[in-house]
């Protein structure tokens, strides 16, 4: 009986929202609405105003900005999105590189780390361990066409949730 109780407690802990230690180390951003190198440079310079940004690699042909972040940074996806929009453009895709420290988590639930909360929009059950790539599916983080497709999955206004509590709807990619 005792061991059954332990298993039950363990299961409850595992299924409740776990607060994992995780570090955002890199973010890949595809920007939309531009084709000129001057425009890319505007985004590049905006991203580099953030002190937590280590360096930015750019693929000018695909408008992909690979943003490497310093250790123990306070960067959130919203901070990066605002920088891209300040340059006059929009985010078409954002992939977060998170490092989960030996943390196993059951999927299809929310995971809170430092100051971010992730809600997984697919139903697969997987483990979060080591480097994990998360693609953000909230409004303003994917193209408006792509958002319309996933809006039904997200079901509520994800935009508001982001503003209030740094909540992001993601899929492991």
């Amino acid at each position: 009986m005792k061991s059954l109780k332990k298993i039950m407690i363990a299961a409850i802990v595992l299924l409740s929202i776990p607060s994992a230690f995780a570090q955002l180390s890199r973010v890949d951003i595809v920007a939309t609405g531009l084709t000129c190198s001057m425009c890319s440079n505007a985004i590049n310079k905006q991203l580099k105003t953030l002190t937590d940004v280590e360096k930015v690699d750019i693929d000018l042909n695909t408008n992909t900005f690979v943003v490497f972040l310093k250790k123990s940074n306070q960067i959130t996806p919203k901070i990066l999105k605002d920088k891209v929009e300040n340059a006059g453009f929009f985010v078409g895709e954002m992939v977060l590189y998170m490092y989960f420290d030996k943390q196993k988590t059951i999927m299809n639930s929310a995971v809170s780390t430092n100051n971010l909360t992730f809600i997984f929009i697919d139903n697969s059950t997987r483990t979060l361990e080591g480097e994990t790539k998360l693609k953000v599916f909230d409004k303003g983080y994917i193209t408006s066409k792509a958002f319309k497709k996933v809006a039904k999955l997200i079901k509520y206004d994800g935009n508001n949730a982001i503003e209030k509590g740094n909540v992001y709807h993601v899929k492991i990619v």
């Binding site: 084709t35 105003t49 000018l60 340059a87």
Partner: protein, 274 residues
């Protein structure tokens, strides 16, 4: 009806042709609906040398301009007008310009944007032509709407504005016999000819552009239409040099120097305000 279908054909051919080219939207004579980055400052030195139609010699204009991105949707320009109209180089006036982007439909390598713009200018030169130009000739204001379409590196720009001339300073009154307001329209297309593939931000880009600029004087129906081809170099993704030629196609109004060359240089200081 025949005329309309012919027009459709021309537009179709134009679109098919333009879909095979790369283009940019930083036009020489018209501003796109897109704005400068927030907190960035641009300095621009515009110069034009126009052939005088009714006398020998050239009309030289120098237009130093400061541009600032207030936020992602609003930017301001302030320009000074210097010219040799009175034989020496004299500062004749200045203007304040604002542009507000109110629509952005962006996609990968594409966007459709619209903006409102307005300009208020003062000028102390004599009024010497029927054409209304608040950029360096007339005191007055201009208000308009601009739309920019970018699809897979093709940029098309169209604008429409209302321009009203007032009396120039100190006592050059706007002639009663002339129309003191006008409708302006522009249509522009740009094409990136180099590089075909980007390799770095340090690469020089070359754009080729063609603009059509028209004005209609609202009170008497007089009008003109100009064509302006241009070459544009983007250097270090931070500076640009434009070389343009403007040629009158037709005009039913008095213009003293419609044809000539333009040289425009611009440099952007990114994020002077973080």
């Amino acid at each position: 009806m025949l005329k309309l279908s012919r027009m459709k054909q021309i537009i179709l051919i134009f679109l098919i042709y333009s879909s095979q080219i790369n283009a940019q939207e930083l036009f020489v004579f018209s501003e796109p609906a897109s704005n400068m980055p927030t907190g960035s400052l641009g300095i621009r030195m515009g110069q034009s040398l126009m052939k005088e139609s009714f006398s020998s010699g050239y009309n030289y204009h120098l237009m130093p301009e400061i541009m600032f991105g207030i936020n992602k949707n609003l930017m301001l320009h302030t320009t000074a007008f210097v010219s040799n109209r009175s034989y020496n180089l004299v500062t004749e006036g200045g203007s304040l310009y604002a542009k507000y982007r109110f629509l952005s439909l962006d996609d990968l390598h594409a966007h459709f944007r619209m903006a409102f713009f307005g300009r208020f200018s003062v000028n102390n030169a004599d009024i010497h032509q029927e054409e209304i130009e608040t950029m360096g000739h007339n005191s007055g204001y201009e208000m308009g709407l601009v739309a920019t379409k970018l699809v897979k590196k093709i940029a098309l720009n169209a604008s429409f504005s209302f321009e009203k001339a007032m009396d120039n300073k100190p006592n050059y009154y706007f002639p009663n016999s002339q129309s003191n307001n006008a409708s302006n329209y522009t249509f522009s297309i740009g094409k990136l000819v180099y590089p075909q593939q980007y390799s770095s931000l340090k690469q020089t880009n070359l754009n080729v552009m063609l603009e059509v600029l028209g004005q209609n004087l609202n009170q008497n129906g007089k009008s003109f239409l100009d064509i302006a081809p241009s070459l544009q170099f983007i250097i270090l993704s931070q500076a640009r040099i434009d070389l343009a030629y403007r040629q009158q196609l037709y005009s039913s109004m008095l213009r003293t120097a419609p044809n000539g060359i333009y040289l425009k240089m611009e440099y952007i200081f990114f994020n002077i305000k973080k």
